[in-house]
């Protein structure tokens, strides 16, 4: 499995040269810089007396900094969670197709590397990029907010990492779809379907009520049961970010999401083993 790590290392180096990722890093840095320079929070004895955005006052109400920051962290967690997933789907949809491109895959397969290691290497590098992006983007954002408000907490960052577990499942299906059909568009579509289906699956109890009781409802519940609970994970992340206790089902949610991803990867590995290039 050492080869998988070397493949991941090489793909990471290639990714560093991609315009997409450079643009993403620049945009994130500009957002950080904008907030750092433009946002002024006047906190007096734990109360937020004034908020200014490039000199323009945004609110007069005096409220506890803690309370205001909870709302900010909650909103930011949702934005980072869903925005990060959508960006991940769009930015990473061509990693699999690129790896399987004619002229590249033949050369890679001629090296003493197992096919499974190729798949794992690609998957690992995307997960690493996801964690790096989350740490830099969300970490920087929350660090600035914490420093400006004086409300220090690691909870929002931990909450955003839950998005990585959702992306684990989403990207596993994207990569598997690339193994079946080498197409970046199809890979992105597969990611989009898992993303939307995961949102629905997170609300399956409420959505099931829209179906007539009986076969239709049971069918919907059965079909949605293996899907990752993306929206439930987002709600759990937001709850953690604002300091509420983690939902008791969080472990089960994460485990289910990871298992879904692993099952997807297993199908991809099976197909890759028997595929001609």
């Amino acid at each position: 499995m050492r080869a998988a790590a070397w493949i991941a290392f090489d793909i990471l180096r290639e990714a560093a040269a991609r315009r997409w990722f450079l643009a993403f890093a620049i945009v994130l840095s500009l957002i950080h810089l904008g907030i750092l320079i433009g946002l002024r929070l006047e906190v007096v004895d734990g109360a937020l007396a004034a908020t200014r955005w490039f000199g323009t006052e945004l609110g007069h109400d005096i409220r506890t900094a803690d309370g205001v920051m909870h709302h900010v962290f909650e909103a930011a967690t949702y934005v980072a969670f869903y925005g990060g997933l959508v960006f991940g789907v769009l930015a990473c949809c061509d990693f699999g197709p690129d790896l399987l491109a004619p002229g590249r895959i033949e050369h890679l397969l001629s090296l003493p590397i197992r096919r499974l290691e190729l798949l794992l290497g690609t998957f690992l590098v995307v997960m690493a990029l996801c964690l790096i992006g989350t740490t830099y983007g969300a970490g920087g954002f929350f660090l600035i907010l914490c420093a400006k408000s004086g409300v220090w907490t690691l909870r929002p960052l931990c909450a955003v990492y839950l998005a990585s577990s959702a992306f684990f499942a989403v990207y596993a299906l994207m990569l598997t779809s690339s193994v079946f059909v080498r197409s970046a568009a199809l890979s992105a579509a597969a990611g989009g379907v898992v993303f939307v289906a995961g949102i629905c699956a997170g609300q399956r109890e409420q959505l099931a009520a829209l179906f007539e009781s009986g076969l239709q409802r049971q069918l919907f519940l059965a079909l949605s049961s293996p899907l990752p609970r993306v929206s439930e994970l987002a709600e759990a992340a937001a709850a953690i970010a604002v300091g509420q206790p983690a939902p008791p089902a969080l472990g089960r949610l994460v485990l289910g999401t990871v298992l879904f991803g692993l099952a997807g990867l297993a199908v991809g590995a099976w197909r890759l083993e028997g595929k001609d290039f």
Binding site: G103, I105, H107, L111
Partner: protein, 325 residues
């Protein structure tokens, strides 16, 4: 087959090798649902190919487009999985990573990372080739030597995106040569390389052969194949239809072409020299003694010999003859 390799162990051994594209799903459909089975859309790329390539030899595979050459090359590397038959490479299965560690491959078209330098690329390939060994990193000396061998010493720091096609091909060759492979599988290795570069690559490959490596060459450049290989196989419709040394295939045995500076055409014709359109003469002589005697007879009639060469056909005409074109 050359005398030195006649009893050598086999680098490549294929027996009854078949490959049908689209066979996997359709054959299962045929098993489950015979009425729906159709063979019309199946494509047979290899149809019972038999081939033996001894270790240390240089084998050239030629054939027209669609003959199955690339499929066979990919099967050697485990990139394509055969539908039937038996294939052994360096004594093992092509899918075995230990076997692939002993193979160097130059693909027909290689997608190289445009943003990398040649040094970075070769280091990456070396790591992947040697990931199980203690010394997996390429040393500076090894890197410099490898780049110098393919004539890229001065371009090591340039990005691959700025390379010409010929330079990319040289880099692919440098990557294939890493780790002193026992078998070199070369799919159009001189494609895009200038004539002098071709000669350099040819010398390099012959050097590898002297080291003991087996060369398996798939090329449309028949002159390259003729110059480099001591055994050639003609592939047609997924089968080897003719195989032998260049001499055997091109039929030079006992046939000669002679050119004289002066001498009467009638006198030469009377001696059995057959005039050809280009001004030279064809003659047959089964032994060196017979050849010498006939040339001496021509000289005795005032003819001055300026050129004598075996009357071999080129591979192109052999290929055309074998394929009935």
């Amino acid at each position: 087959m050359s005398g030195t390799t006649a009893n050598a162990p086999l680098a490549i051994a294929a027996r009854g090798l078949t490959k049908s594209y689209g066979a996997g799903v359709r054959s299962r459909v045929a098993e489950l649902w015979p009425a729906r089975a159709s063979s019309g859309s199946q494509r047979q790329a290899l149809a019972g190919l038999d081939l033996q390539v001894p270790c240390g030899s240089a084998f050239g595979l030629i054939g027209v487009n669609g003959a199955g050459k690339t499929t066979f090359v990919k099967a050697l590397l485990g990139v394509v999985l055969p539908s039937g038959g038996e294939l052994r490479v360096l004594g093992g299965a092509p899918g075995d990573v230990a076997v692939r560690a002993r193979i160097g491959y130059v693909p027909e078209r290689l997608a190289l990372p445009a943003s990398w330098t040649a040094s970075a690329y070769l280091r990456s390939v070396a790591r992947l080739k040697r990931h199980d060994s203690a010394q997996r990193e390429l040393t500076e000396a090894e890197l410099a030597c490898q780049l110098a061998r393919v004539g890229l010493a001065g371009d090591a720091g340039r990005r691959i995106g700025q390379y010409s096609k010929g330079m990319r091909q040289r880099l692919a060759l440098a990557a294939a040569l890493l780790g002193q492979p026992d078998l070199l599988v070369l799919d159009e290795p001189t494609d895009g390389v200038d004539p002098l570069g071709r000669a350099e690559i040819r010398d390099l490959l012959l050097e590898e052969r002297r080291r003991g490596a087996t060369l398996f060459l798939n090329s449309h450049l028949l002159s390259e194949t003729e110059r480099m290989c001591d055994e050639i196989g003609i592939l047609s419709q997924g089968k080897i239809v003719r195989q032998g040394s260049v001499r055997e295939l091109c039929g030079a045995e006992g046939s000669w072409r002679a050119r004289f500076a002066q001498g009467s055409a009638d006198a030469l014709s009377a001696l059995g020299f057959e005039p050809l359109a280009d001004g030279s003469y064809a003659l047959r002589a089964e032994t060196p003694l017979e050849l010498d005697q006939r040339l001496a007879a021509a000289r005795a009639r005032g003819a001055l010999l300026v050129e004598l060469r075996p009357a071999a056909r080129d591979l192109e005409s052999v290929l055309a003859e074998v394929l009935g074109r």
